[in-house]
């Protein structure tokens, strides 16, 4: 497995030339210092609680990952087989840094950790994510979250 520049030329070209949405707005929400923020993680690794149906490509859904979910119960169901999973096998935090976030809260660096975090299938078309974002942000606001860190794979 590799960094982008180490991939085969065909794969590298496919990834770099991937059609990305272009927006005519430039939102930029400011807020209080980090020590007062309540932070949630959103991952595109299609993490799914153990026992649930994997997230399938094309399904514009998200899964909720409670902070209390045991690290052994978050499974990676991403459709792609072209990125590394051996790091995740050794340590969930390399893709979903839930323990690091808890430590930052315990040390007072951030205000608090959200009760719930979220996973999406990163290979899906984000042009179709408007309604998904509406629902996710509704849930985030219910949880009083005012900062989100996005983690890809």
């Amino acid at each position: 497995m590799a960094r982008l520049e180490d991939l085969t030329p065909a794969m590298r070209q496919r990834l770099t030339e991937l059609d990305c949405p272009k927006y005519d707005t430039s939102p930029f929400v400011t807020g209080e210092p980090l020590a007062g923020r309540r932070v949630a993680i959103v991952t595109s690794a299609a993490l799914t609680p153990r026992g649930e149906r994997p997230m399938l490509p094309g399904e514009n859904v998200f899964r909720e990952l409670p902070t209390s979910l045991a690290v052994g119960d978050a499974l990676m169901t991403h459709v792609s087989v072209n990125y590394d999973r051996t790091g995740f096998q050794r340590d969930i935090n390399v893709a979903y840094p839930i323990d690091r976030l808890r430590e930052l809260a315990a040390d007072g660096v951030i205000g608090s950790v959200a009760d719930r975090h979220y996973a999406v299938m990163g290979s899906n078309d984000p042009q179709a994510w408007g309604e998904l974002a509406d629902r996710m942000v509704g849930r985030l606001k219910d949880d009083r979250v005012d900062a989100v860190v996005l983690s890809p794979v």
């Binding site: 930029f28 929400v29 980090l34 590394d84 989100v148 983690s151 890809p152």
Partner: protein
């Protein structure tokens, strides 16, 4: 991910995105982004290195305090040392040289060969998951005793029976069993505390196991199918592009 950051920010919550593919972050004008020079699948850089991960995460979070938006895109300066091979690493599983069935072998022969190899891998995997306290095996939601027969049922280029998982087609169920098979082998191969590169672990799996030979054989069989779903899932979701032979 960068696009989702834009959509969340647009709805009133501040975001900061870690990113592995810089051109995507540039194209979507991510509100706040930290490009990291790590391999795909490892956005925090280093497994089992809490200090390294904390530095990456905190660098991304600190962007939330920085004025000067709406577009902030920084490059993380630190490389991940675990990307390099560990010259002293050897797999924790010892397997005999691969003696996979011949190309024209029956599904029954393939199934017996995989079951025999699995019997050698499972004790090491049991110890590894006990030491780590977790496993990533389980996506397929099927017991390991069913894996060989399910995978081998596709060697004829079609589903030989109904799906064993009610909410998935048979080939989708097989695809997740392949994920579990790969995870079981690679979790077993890396002893707790060892830190080989991903390349080393995957070289071992794809070049030295019957399991990998079988997965490639299933892929080839699926590509002969007239069922479009079988060709898509079997062709694209079993073997990484770089490991197709």
């Amino acid at each position: 991910m960068s696009a989702l950051g834009h959509l969340i920010e647009q709805r009133g919550i501040a975001t900061t995105a870690i990113g592995l593919i810089r051109p995507h972050m540039e194209k979507t004008c991510v509100p706040r982004g930290l490009w990291v020079p790590f391999e795909l699948g490892r956005p925090l850089g280093e497994p089992e290195n809490a200090d390294f991960q904390r530095r990456v995460l905190l660098t991304a979070l600190r962007l939330l305090e920085r004025p000067g938006g709406p577009v902030i895109l920084d490059d993380y300066p630190e490389e991940a040392p675990g990307r390099l091979p560990d010259a002293g690493w050897t797999p924790a599983v010892t397997l005999p040289p691969v003696e996979a069935p011949a190309d024209d072998a029956s599904a029954w022969d393939w199934a017996r060969a995989l079951e025999a190899e699995l019997a050698m891998v499972l004790p090491t995997w049991d110890r590894a998951q006990a030491a780590r306290g977790r496993t990533t095996v389980g996506v397929g939601r099927l017991p390991v005793t069913t894996w060989a027969s399910l995978l081998c049922s596709f060697l004829g280029g079609h589903a030989a029976g109904p799906s064993p998982v009610p909410d998935l087609r048979a080939i989708q169920a097989a695809r997740y069993v392949v994920d579990d098979l790969k995870a079981l082998y690679t979790e077993a191969a890396v002893a707790p505390g060892a830190a080989p590169s991903s390349q080393q672990v995957l070289d071992w799996f794809w070049d030295h196991t019957v399991a990998a030979r079988l997965i490639r054989a299933v892929r080839k069989a699926c590509l002969t199918s007239t069922d479009k779903v079988l060709t898509i899932v079997g062709g694209n979701q079993l073997v990484p592009s770089a490991r197709v032979t």
